[in-house]
């Protein structure tokens, strides 16, 4: 196996890694960096459990070659909030019982974050579309949709106060 150096930004920090050519970002995150918040469900882009944010857009890390992340900005669930703090999406998922087995939760939260960053006041349909590539098998989609709408509301409030 040949290894190549890849320099990228990971959760706001500069990261230099040697990765095997042809290996995925998912494998780099889990097997090399020990960031287990990104989950492997299907390795074929169907389940969304491995969703991460690259340059502001949701990406499937199981279908992204690590080498192609050179110079990119990658965010995983571990980078969503400072240690000890929770992002409003995380808080809303907790409060709204939107995480039963928890396996789809990282992907769901990151897919939702991409939506809210772009569209702070989404409709229910827009929330459904945002998580449409993420499969949940036990929580049920309704609490997840409700949690995302609640988080959106919470994120909008301070902005209004400032205005």
């Amino acid at each position: 196996m040949t290894k190549v150096a890849v320099e990228f930004t990971l959760n706001t920090r500069e990261q230099n890694e040697f990765v095997e050519t042809g290996s995925t970002l998912l494998s780099a995150l889990r097997d090399r960096l020990g960031l287990y918040g990104t989950k492997a469900g299907c390795h074929q882009g169907t389940c969304g459990a491995c969703t991460v944010i690259i340059d502001g857009e949701p990406h499937l890390s199981c279908l992204t070659l690590a080498e192609r992340c050179r110079g990119k900005d990658v965010t995983t669930l571990e980078g969503l909030a400072p240690a000890g703090a929770l992002h409003p999406l995380q808080q809303a998922f907790m409060d709204g019982f939107a995480a039963q087995c928890g396996f789809c939760t990282p992907g769901m939260i990151l897919a939702a974050k991409c939506l809210l960053d772009r569209n702070p006041d989404p409709t229910r349909d827009e929330v459904v579309d945002a998580i449409s590539g993420n499969i949940c098998r036990c929580t049920g989609y309704e609490p997840i949709i409700a949690a995302i709408l609640t988080a959106a509301q919470g994120l909008r409030k301070p902005a209004r106060k400032r205005a």
């Binding site: 690259i54 070659l65 998580i131």
Partner: protein, 266 residues
């Protein structure tokens, strides 16, 4: 298994790499899934440095670079008619990665954008290693296995007049699923009569195909229930759908006329 990755510096150099067993990786949604399940050694070549991610709309002509993503199509206000097509493909993450160039090669039942391009009578520009060539999409799709070794550069077509482009993707799970039947159609009318209808079907053959018999049934007629019903009867006449995990061939043939009729009646 060993995989190498390099970025092509010019489109004309890509076919030579592919001739030696290399493969283009665009969005990666198809090829990396293969690698994860144990493909053989391969030299991957990206088109990231060729500037093929541009969208141009000039004088009613749309030109899309091969590396334009579904998300970029869905964001472009000049391409509103294509938004339902882009939005029907995968979830947001797939749309952020998948390219229109890659979609031309997506195996059935995938390839909804290619079906839309077929209805739009698109022209495909590709480099064969010697020169840039152009082919009508119908010819291109029919030979796509062979043409895969070239380098698709762009796809262009005339923007359809307002209200003439119709699209429906029938799926088992809404949203996000592979197609049971995809129907894309451009139905222009002149003096109240249909002129130059083009109907494309996805998931109804090995690649997107035209429904010429249904088109002929519409030609020169006034759009109405009886004419729609007559065309609907012929919609799957040239199709050869497959059984897969999403639907049986029988089911695809059964529902194609229903959804076609609903699409035109709407």
């Amino acid at each position: 298994m060993s995989v190498t990755l390099s970025a092509a510096k010019q489109a004309r150099l890509v076919p030579a790499v592919q001739a030696k067993g290399g493969r283009i990786i665009a969005g990666g949604t198809l090829i990396v899934a293969d690698l994860n399940y144990g493909a053989d050694s391969v030299a991957l070549i990206t088109l990231d440095r060729l500037g093929l991610d541009k969208i141009a709309v000039k004088g009613g002509k749309v030109t899309l670079g091969a590396m334009v993503t579904m998300a970029a199509v869905a964001r472009d206000r000049r391409l509103k008619f294509l938004h339902p097509v882009a939005d029907s493909i995968g979830g947001p993450a797939v749309r952020a990665m998948a390219t229109i160039g890659g979609n031309l090669f997506a195996p059935s039942p995938y390839g909804d954008m290619a079906a839309a391009f077929l209805a739009l009578d698109a022209e495909i520009s590709f480099h064969d290693g010697k020169a840039t060539r152009k082919l009508p999409i119908e010819t291109f799709l029919a030979q796509r296995r062979k043409l895969q070794k070239h380098c698709v550069v762009s796809i262009s077509f005339a923007a359809p007049s307002a209200g003439t482009f119709h699209y429906v993707k029938v799926v088992r799970r809404k949203p996000v699923s592979a197609s049971v039947v995809t129907i894309a159609a451009v139905i222009p009318q002149k003096a109240g009569k249909i002129k130059g209808a083009r109907i494309a079907l996805g998931a109804m053959a090995a690649n997107a195909i035209r429904a010429r018999k249904a088109e002929a049934a519409l030609e020169g007629r006034k759009l109405g229930d009886d004419i729609i019903a007559a065309a609907a009867k012929l919609i799957a006449a040239e199709a050869s759908p497959a059984d897969d995990a999403y639907a049986t061939a029988w089911y695809r043939r059964e529902i194609a006329p229903v959804h076609f009729a609903r699409l035109l009646a709407a």
